[in-house]
Assembly symmetry: C2
Homo-oligomer: 483 residues x 2
């Protein structure tokens, strides 16, 4: 998001032209007074770009205005203006989300945090950083890596998603099997509440248990409780160069047995990914790379890494190779060569772009007990045959978080309906296996019914009570996560 | 807590004899109907044993009754009975807490969870366990270790504290520098709400971000939001045998520099503890052991461990030794000998019993940025001189969580007042250094003013709003954590 580019298409002063909602006299003028003319967009031809994130199935609307505050004071002032005018707010980062949580709402103001993109502090002696929400994940990780430190959460959109969005969705990535999701890296937050007041949560120390854990309540709340304007993040030492394993299986069940075997053997790889035949074939064809083999793809490939360093990393991957062989791997290979390791990771990361060549992709996000991974893949194959759409399964095998990805023709209503059907049936299958309907993407506007099924009426009522407690008028992100 | 022993001192049927509160007609009968005659205690000579935990300074009252439910259904029924009678509830585990959070309240029922002490499941393929709240930490860790697994949180009372208390206080221990506090090991909870309804939070999968993180909101809420009746806990592979370092310093500032240096060097020890001269001398005199040296104690000793295993663990401790030497250590020693390592840990764990010989101990719990550890120790020495009481500093140097321990004569009102004064001044000093007033013990009934200072009025108001949302009549643990 380059704000300066967008500014050039803004009328000056901006005319109120939003047709999708009742005009709110004085609202736009008040917003302009807060953030200045470069920080408010109202032209529907422009604001429509903020209607959606990366989830095609979620409902969306046209923002009444899109506002780009430059600091916490401006965010607080925007919240107060919207509260006075009775206008809801949708907080938004880069728009890389996969649940529609940042989708526009007719008649609401979308507050985009990308202008607040400064790394405020990196404290190497205490291994922490203080950041604004608009910092791009990759920018941040590169900056801390240049100082010998490491920020673990690495969602697949890490080269364009923002830390604020990562916090709001409690994003994960490939690192989670060893390092957890975003919440595990957050020490404290600054949050603008519905009252326009600024709440500080957490601390700058490694440990701290003073009061309720408001930090971890806000993380993953998808912008429904407040707007995150600053975060204090825990850093780790930069891990050692990885040792990498790749193993192929003629049967996904054998791959599942290898993952369970790795857990039982006490391994904690820094990464353990799975790709099924559909994904392997798509990557082979799209990238032309032979790193995953040339001919007919195997049923599944596991890619594992250890960042334990030196002989330990090698020993861990050698042990993983033994586990894979015992589970019936048709091929396996361990390498300390960093370029080879990188190529394998690139192939893994190429799955979505490669599937995109075949049609519109719709990626699901279901997390199952690790022992149930193979059963989930089998269920996806059945669903694929049933609905008549390609479903490639790629995922974080080490923690059981799978991303079955449905490929369909978005111009064909029957295929759209079939994709929608498959999406839900995969979630049901995951739940039936003891899993959850989201491991790292969140609920947003696309999984509300599934959240209700998973946590039940008592759970939903507790959500509503907390929402009412912090946001009594329901101004933040209405219609997202739950009603 | 052996319930059967206590049962024998119960009158049958129990007579209502609590003089400290207004009798509630029918309450005891209703409680007896729920939990049976062996599960209700009302004799003040018996219930007085449930007035206090291990924090001498916290206010306390006499429970109206002490109830021992046997399962979740009984807990829910007890909550409904108390709600009907307008009687508050104090949830309690073993009573090892250090903030008075489980102290009795005049006119309230104390619900003790020690009878619910079963390990319900250990799932080795998914590295998780399901437990009841009354399981003793050591019982649980021994059981999982016998299966090659590891439960990290190890508060110093681990041989008698219960997992339910650990969850309610978000307890820590020596492991935290590498493995975090209790919240980092919790996947899900079963919680009885103020309505008597049973809430399930979280999941059985490694990852899961469905809805608000109610699990981590309940963990550390000190029994103010509900009663935890079951927990799903994440396990780790059993770590390798430790390599141990001990280093002595003639100046605590040098020890502080060694800790900062270790962080900057990228070390993540599995344990890194500090003891000051007062603690070392007390242990030398009380235990008669010469493991910490024989003569005049050094200003500080650091004990470090790595559980990375084989050559890596040794290399990490060798590096830590270099860091200590560069920081000016007067002595240092690295050993792979498990018995030596165990003796050093025993000396560390002997600090509180050794200080107890000198008087009543009052242990504080302040967490500071690691770079500020030496400054905190210096502040404690000043406060000690000022108030005229011995203060020994022992703590988790690796994460900056210090336990300055004040020794005083509890029969001397002047010393009690001085101890109280020192307790607060240590917290203020910690906060002034960028720290928090509790790293792992919690707020309870002894640090409420300090919580308010730390999180401010907006923070307190958010706490109140969440409390009202989940417990509208204020039935759970009134007067604990905040008003």
């Amino acid at each position: 998001m380059d704000v300066t580019q967008i500014d050039t298409v803004l009328p000056d002063p901006p005319a109120f032209r939003n047709s999708a909602a009742v005009p709110r006299p004085g609202l736009i003028e008040a917003l302009l007074a807060v953030v200045g003319p470069g920080g408010v967009m109202v032209d529907p031809e422009v604001t429509v770009a903020y209607s959606r994130d990366m989830m095609p199935l979620a409902p969306s609307g046209l923002p009444l205005a899109v506002v780009f505050p430059a600091d916490t004071g401006q965010v607080a002032a925007v919240v107060r203006v919207c509260a006075e005018h009775g206008v809801p707010i949708v907080p938004r980062g880069a728009g890389s989300g996969l649940t529609g949580a940042a989708n526009g709402v007719d008649g609401a103001v979308t507050v985009v945090l990308t202008r607040m993109n400064r790394i405020l502090e990196i404290d190497e002696g205490n291994r922490l950083a203080v950041v604004q929400p608009g910092v791009v994940n990759l920018t941040f990780r590169s900056e801390v890596e240049s100082r010998g430190l490491f920020y673990a959460p690495d969602p697949s959109s890490y080269d364009w998603c923002t830390l604020g969005g990562n916090l709001s969705t409690n994003a994960g990535g490939l690192c989670c099997v060893k390092y957890g999701v975003t919440t595990d890296a957050v020490l404290g937050l600054q949050v603008v509440l519905a009252s326009g007041e600024v709440l500080r949560t957490g601390r700058r120390t490694v440990k701290g248990v003073a009061g309720y854990d408001l930090t971890k309540l806000i993380v993953g709340s998808e912008g429904t409780l407040g707007i995150i304007t600053e975060a204090t993040l825990a850093l780790r030492p930069k891990p050692a160069a990885p040792c990498t394993l790749v193993a192929a299986f003629s049967d996904t069940e054998h791959a599942g047995e290898a993952v369970s075997g790795a857990i039982r053997a006490g391994l904690v790889p820094s990464l353990l990914e799975i790709m099924d035949a559909t994904c392997i074939r798509a990557v082979q064809e799209h990238t032309g790379s032979s790193i995953l083999g040339d001919g007919e793809p195997p049923a599944a490939i596991l890619i594992g890494q250890s960042d334990s360093g030196s002989t330990v990393g090698r020993r861990e991957m050698d042990l993983l190779e033994q586990v894979c062989s015992s589970a019936g791997a048709s091929f396996s290979y361990v390498t300390d060569d960093l370029a080879e390791g990188r190529l394998l990771l690139q192939a893994r990361r190429a799955v979505l772009p490669s599937l995109e060549v075949l049609g519109t992709w719709l990626t699901d996000d279901v997390s199952v007990p690790r022992t149930a991974m193979a059963a989930l893949i089998a269920a996806c194959q059945e669903i694929s045959a049933d609905v008549g759409l390609t479903i490639g399964v790629v995922g974080h095998a080490g923690d059981g978080n799978m991303h079955p990805t449905i490929v369909y023709d978005a111009t064909d209503p029957a295929q759209v309906a079939a994709a929608h059907d498959a999406f839900g049936r995969i979630l049901d299958a995951g739940r039936a296996l003891g899993g959850t309907v989201t491991g790292e993407h969140g609920i947003g506007r696309v999984k509300q019914d599934f959240l209700r099924s998973e946590i039940g009426e008592i759970g939903i009522e507790v959500h509503r009570a907390i929402k009412r407690a912090l946001d009594p008028t329901g101004m933040f992100n209405p219609g997202s996560m739950f009603d």
